[in-house]
Structures are given as structure tokens and as C-alpha cells.
């Protein structure tokens, strides 16, 4: 029933004009596959992407996306994918404070985005962050610096017509005292996609549950449309299946 790239429940739930998408996941149900889907979608539509990869090396994403029918190496060579390999990124050196490193990183992203604006390319730029909690580790726990950086990226969405996809591990912020980052992100977000494990435990056919909350701030016509979606998912090599509980063929 479900087709990849369009017509599935996730596409329907996400609507069209989400500027800032926040993906929340936890140890039991990794949400990286949503990030992969969105990255593929961003590149497939003729757009560009700036990918801040903190969790995995390029070879990993390349192989994963290739199985989904999206050649990252090619996009990278054509200049449509700006890949920032931040696995070894560290700003904690004594002489240069972390804020400087973030400023530098931001200016690189800005340059990439501006280059797209000048060129003939019509497509939108999507900034993808995998994942933001590691950026906090880079900053040695200085949430303010991360928030500053995020805010700058956020301004790009209005100034340069970018969109933002951010992965965050929600369970890290479950405690009362350190919710800052998560709360800020939820506030920024037009769309929150949350992956959670099934309460009944592991299953081979259903890998977990997605809840999509669409704030729909940007498009009037969807005022009547559904805001909250809940459905199950199964991750596959070439994409993912989305289905309502119990309605799987």
C-alpha cells in the first residue's frame, strides 16, 4: 500500500511547509531513519542540504542512503550536499573558546547557503543536524552556546528560506533540571516527530511508534486538518513502512 517518497502516512502527517522539524528519539527506538528520509526528500526535490554529522561518518550515511536510492557521494560532488564531518570536531581547546568554533561553523553554513542563493539553483536548502545532544557534548555542557548557534541557524530559515531538521535524544532531557535545550527546540519547531518504542516490548514487525505533532503555523488552509498523528513504523533498508496500529497487511 505505502509508496516510498510520497503518499505514506508520514508525508501526509508532515504536511508541506514545515520550516523546523525536530525529531525526538530514545535509546530503545532510534529515530535516525526519519532523518534519513527527510534528507533524501530534501535532496530529491532538487534542493540542497547542509549536513552536520556528529554521530556517524560519511561512509555510513552514504551506504544507508544509497540503499534508499539516493547517492550522497554524487550529490556531494555536485555541490548539492555540504557535508560537515564533525565526528572529531572539538571546540574545547584552551586558547579558543567554544563560542568561536560555533561562529566559525555557522559562517561555513551561511556561506554554503548564500552560494545556493546566488546560483541558479531554485531549490531550498535544508540544514540537517545529527544529533544536537552531541553538539552539547562538544560545548562541554554549555547549553547557552548551543542555543546561540541554534538561534543563528534558525534565523537562516526566515532570511534565506532554509529549513531545519534536528535530531535530539529526548530521554536525555527527561529530568527536570536540564530540559532547556529540548524545550527551546520544541518551541522553535513547526513539527515534532517523536519515535517511541512499543509499550509491549520488542517486535520484529513493528519497530515502534511515531507521534507527529504539526503546529501548522505557516499554512492557513490546514487549520482544519489534523494536528496530531500516531502510527506505527517498521524500518526497512530502503525506507520505512508507516501504518496505523493493527492495519498492517
Amino acid at each position: 500500500m505505502e509508496e516510498y517518497g510520497g503518499g505514506d502516512l508520514l508525508t501526509e502527517a508532515m504536511g508541506s511547509a514545515a520550516r523546523v522539524v525536530v525529531i525526538e528519539d530514545c535509546v530503545e527506538a532510534p529515530g535516525a531513519f526519519v532523518l534519513h528520509l527527510l534528507l533524501k526528500r530534501a535532496l530529491a526535490g532538487g534542493g540542497e542540504a547542509a549536513f552536520l554529522a556528529l554521530a556517524q561518518p560519511f561512509s555510513h550515511y552514504d551506504r544507508v542512503l544509497r540503499k534508499m536510492g539516493c547517492n550522497l557521494s554524487l550529490h556531494r560532488r555536485n555541490g548539492r550536499l555540504h557535508f560537515f564531518d564533525l565526528q572529531a570536531f572539538s571546540g574545547g581547546a584552551r586558547e579558543s573558546p567554544i563560542a568561536d568554533s560555533f561562529v566559525q561553523l555557522y559562517s561555513e553554513i551561511q556561506r554554503a547557503v548564500e552560494a545556493n542563493k546566488i546560483g541558479e539553483n531554485e531549490g531550498q536548502v535544508t540544514i540537517v543536524v545529527d544529533d544536537i545532544s552531541l553538539l552539547e557534548v562538544v560545548a562541554h555542557g554549555s547549553v547557552d552556546d548551543v542555543l546561540d548557534f541554534l538561534h543563528y541557524c534558525f534565523t537562516l530559515t526566515s532570511e534565506m528560506d532554509c529549513s531545519l531538521v534536528i535530531l535530539i535524544h529526548e530521554d536525555i532531557y527527561a529530568g527536570e533540571e536540564n530540559m532547556d535545550l529540548l524545550l527551546h527546540l520544541r518551541y522553535f519547531a513547526d513539527l515534532v516527530v517523536k519515535a517511541a518504542p512499543l509499550s509491549t516490548g520488542l517486535a520484529a514487525d513493528v519497530h515502534g511508534q511515531l507521534s507527529v505533532v504539526n503546529k501548522g503555523t505557516f499554512h492557513k488552509q490546514s487549520a482544519k486538518s489534523q494536528k496530531v498523528w500516531n502510527f506505527h513504523f517498521k524500518v526497512k533498508e530502503n525506507g520505512a513502512d508507516f501504518f496505523y496500529p493493527g492495519s498492517r497487511q
Binding site: 535509546v27 530503545e28 535516525a32 555510513h60 572539538s90 557534548v137 527527561a174 529530568g175 516490548g201
Partner: protein
């Protein structure tokens, strides 16, 4: 003996064909190639290798959450290190002790494979429920059947050639021979008095950069074993962000050099949010729980309770270059000492509860079911 013969016969016709095709050996000692461009080294416990789909993935960080009361994580760590020594792979060990080199003296020696017989006898160890054995004979066979099935799969893979086995069984009572330890490139770092982790980080990066390169660009698989990284006796304890960023940079280093790092940590001393951070950083995440010696309820519920030393829970399995999560048949396994010597893992086999409330699935969490059994209806 007849049973053993029957088992070999059964293995030849019913074993999965994939296990041997996937496990094609590569040039390097003790390294096995798998699907998706993965390469594995053995964890030192053949059962664990099988469960994780081949072993510990090269280029990954394996984390083991310790039990707060019992040092069972050391069993896993020792097997991992001893396997590396046997395969002559470079090893770096670090622990919160004055003389970490002394820990090497406790590494177990491999069992020669010819001695492994009489395995079939241990299935009858369920003495606790012997009084019920007679009238529940048929049922008992049904729910113990899985155990024998598991055996076949376990021992199908590793007796390919005697010279270069991918994984050995280790005899926990016999120490590894001295000359093996002395001739190897084994480094030890003490984390007890270190104020920061930068020293350990430097040692790790030096260790990984020294790994001898092969002509294909791949290096020998190095093993890094870090015991109790966040132990309270370390001077850097409390510096949570330092520890997390150490793990992050270790992960990057290990990934680029194709080695394996195993880190055990007492999760109870970390705050909740940092514990989650650590778990997210792990590529493969295991946790270990000890079980009390004389727990009558558990003994009644689980077969082979006498040999059990604890439970191993598999939270996360490293999946290279793929987005599909690994769903195991059972994520909680019992850790047993076979003949008080070598470690083995088994799916939990639960005895049918009195009153037979539904089928006893072997996979579900043991703790909840043990509480459930106390309820009388």
C-alpha cells in the same frame, strides 16, 4: 552418546546455511567478515558472538552497564581481553586500580576443544521442580526443547579449523600462560589517580596510531578495554562532561582505526541524563545483572538456575551502515557457568507457572514474571 550422535546428524541437515557463508574469514587473525562491509572480532564468548551476529563490530564502542553489587562485568571483560591475547591482537587495558598490569594475571586460558563433552547432561539440572517432573513430562519436553535447539546453533560455527579459531571457550579457573602475556604488546593505564582523562585519551590515540598497517590499508584489530570508566575512586569523577567527550572522541578514533573498545561503567553512579547520554554513545549496549544465590521463586521458575550467575540484557546491537535496528529473539539471556568453568549464554527457559496461565514465552523480562509468579489466584 547416542544423543550426541543424533545432534551432529541434525546439525548437518538443519543448521542455517548463512552462518558459514557470512563468516568468511579474512586475512587478519581473529577477524571475521560479515554483511554490509562489517568485520568482527570475537568477544571471547562464543554464545555472545552468535547473539550479536558475529561478534564485536570493528570500529564500534561496546558498553557494558555493570551490576551494582557483583563484578560480573569482569567476566565479560576478561574473556574479551584473553581472546585478544590469544589472537595476538594489541591490547590496551585501563582500570581504576593502582597496578592495572596485575589484572592481566586473572585472564582465563582457552579450553582445548577436545575436552568439551558431556554437555548434554546439564539439561537435567532442574532439581527444584523434580517432584513435578513425573506428571508434567510432556509439557516439560516442549518447553525445554528450545534449549537443545540453541545448543546446535552455538556449536555449529566454531570448529572449522583448529589452528585459527575465531573464538575460544575460556576456562575461568585456569590462568592464561605467562609467556603469552609477556610477549605481547599489551599496555596498561591506571585511571585511579588521573585528574583528567586527557592522559588516557592520549594513550588511546597513541595506541591506535601504532597499530601495524596491512597493505590493504586496514590495520590489525586492536582492542581497548576500559574498566569502570566512571568509578567514584577516579579523581576525574564528577567531571561528567569530560567523560562524555572522552567517549565521543574515543568513538571517533576507534571508528577511523577499525578497532574495538569495550567500556564497562557503573551506571548507578551517573545521573539519569548522563547515563542516557552514555547509552546513546554506545554502538553496542549490554547490561549485566547478578542474581541472588538462593532465590526460591526464581529457582522454581527458571530451569538450570543452579548454574546461572546472572542475566545479560542486550539493549542495542551495533548495525554498520544500515538503519534497520536488530531485533533479537530474546534480549534477556541467562549467563551461566558451564561446569563452573566457561561462560555461556542461554535464552531464559521458564517453567510453566502453576495454574498454567498461558504459554510461557521464554523471551519476556525475568523480573516481572518472577513477581507475577508470587500471585495466587
Amino acid at each position: 552418546m547416542a544423543a550426541a550422535g543424533g545432534r551432529t546428524l541434525g546439525r548437518s541437515s538443519f543448521s542455517r546455511a548463512t552462518s558459514n557463508q557470512v563468516a568468511s574469514s579474512s586475512g587478519a587473525t581473529g577477524v571475521k567478515l560479515g554483511p554490509n562491509g562489517a568485520a568482527f572480532v570475537s568477544s571471547g564468548i562464543p554464545d555472545l558472538d552468535r547473539i550479536l551476529g558475529g561478534g564485536f563490530l570493528l570500529g564500534s564502542v561496546v558498553m557494558i552497564m555493570e551490576d551494582a553489587d557483583a563484578p560480573h562485568h569482569l567476566l565479560l571483560l576478561r574473556c574479551f581481553m584473553a581472546q585478544g591475547v590469544v589472537h595476538k591482537q594489541p591490547l590496551l587495558f585501563s582500570g581504576p586500580m593502582k597496578e592495572p598490569r596485575l589484572f592481566l594475571g586473572t585472564l582465563p586460558a582457552p579450553v582445548s576443544s577436545s575436552k568439551e563433552d558431556g554437555r548434554h547432561s546439564r539439561g537435567m539440572g532442574a532439581g527444584a521442580s523434580s517432584d513435578r517432573r513425573a506428571n508434567e513430562e510432556g509439557l516439560r519436553i516442549a518447553w525445554q526443547y528450545k534449549k537443545y535447539f540453541g545448543d546446535e546453533k552455538t556449536y555449529g560455527v566454531e570448529h572449522n579449523d583448529n589452528k585459527q579459531e575465531f573464538s575460544n571457550d575460556f576456562d575461568l579457573r585456569k590462568p592464561l600462560e605467562r609467556h603469552l602475556l609477556n610477549s605481547q604488546n599489551i599496555e596498561c593505564v591506571s585511571t585511579q589517580d588521573a585528574n583528567t582523562l586527557s592522559d588516557l585519551q592520549d594513550r588511546c590515540s597513541a595506541f591506535l596510531s601504532k597499530l601495524p598497517r596491512k597493505d590493504g590499508g586496514t590495520s590489525t584489530a586492536g582492542r581497548i578495554a576500559i574498566q569502570s570508566l566512571c568509578a567514584p575512586q577516579c579523581a576525574y569523577f564528577e567531571k561528567d562532561w569530560n567523560m562524555v567527550s572522552f567517549i565521543r572522541s574515543l568513538k571517533a578514533m576507534v571508528r577511523s582505526s577499525g578497532s574495538v573498545a569495550v567500556i564497562t561503567f557503573p551506571s548507578a553512579v551517573l545521573s539519569n541524563s548522563f547515563c542516557k547520554r552514555w547509552q546513546h554513545l554506545a554502538d553496542t549496549l549490554l547490561s549485566i545483572k547478578a542474581i541472588p544465590d538462593e532465590d526460591k521463586d526464581l529457582a522454581k521458575l527458571l530451569t538450570g538456575y543452579q548454574d546461572m550467575v546472572g542475566f545479560l540484557h542486550v539493549h542495542k546491537v551495533a548495525q554498520p551502515n544500515s538503519q534497520v535496528p536488530v531485533i533479537l529473539e530474546a534480549s534477556t539471556l541467562s549467563l551461566k557457568l558451564r561446569k563452573r568453568r566457561s561462560l555461556m549464554l542461554e535464552r531464559l527457559i521458564q517453567a510453566p507457572v502453576d495454574g498454567s496461565s498461558g504459554p510461557s514465552s521464554a523471551a519476556s523480562g525475568s523480573c516481572t514474571s518472577s513477581h507475577g509468579s508470587q500471585l495466587d489466584f
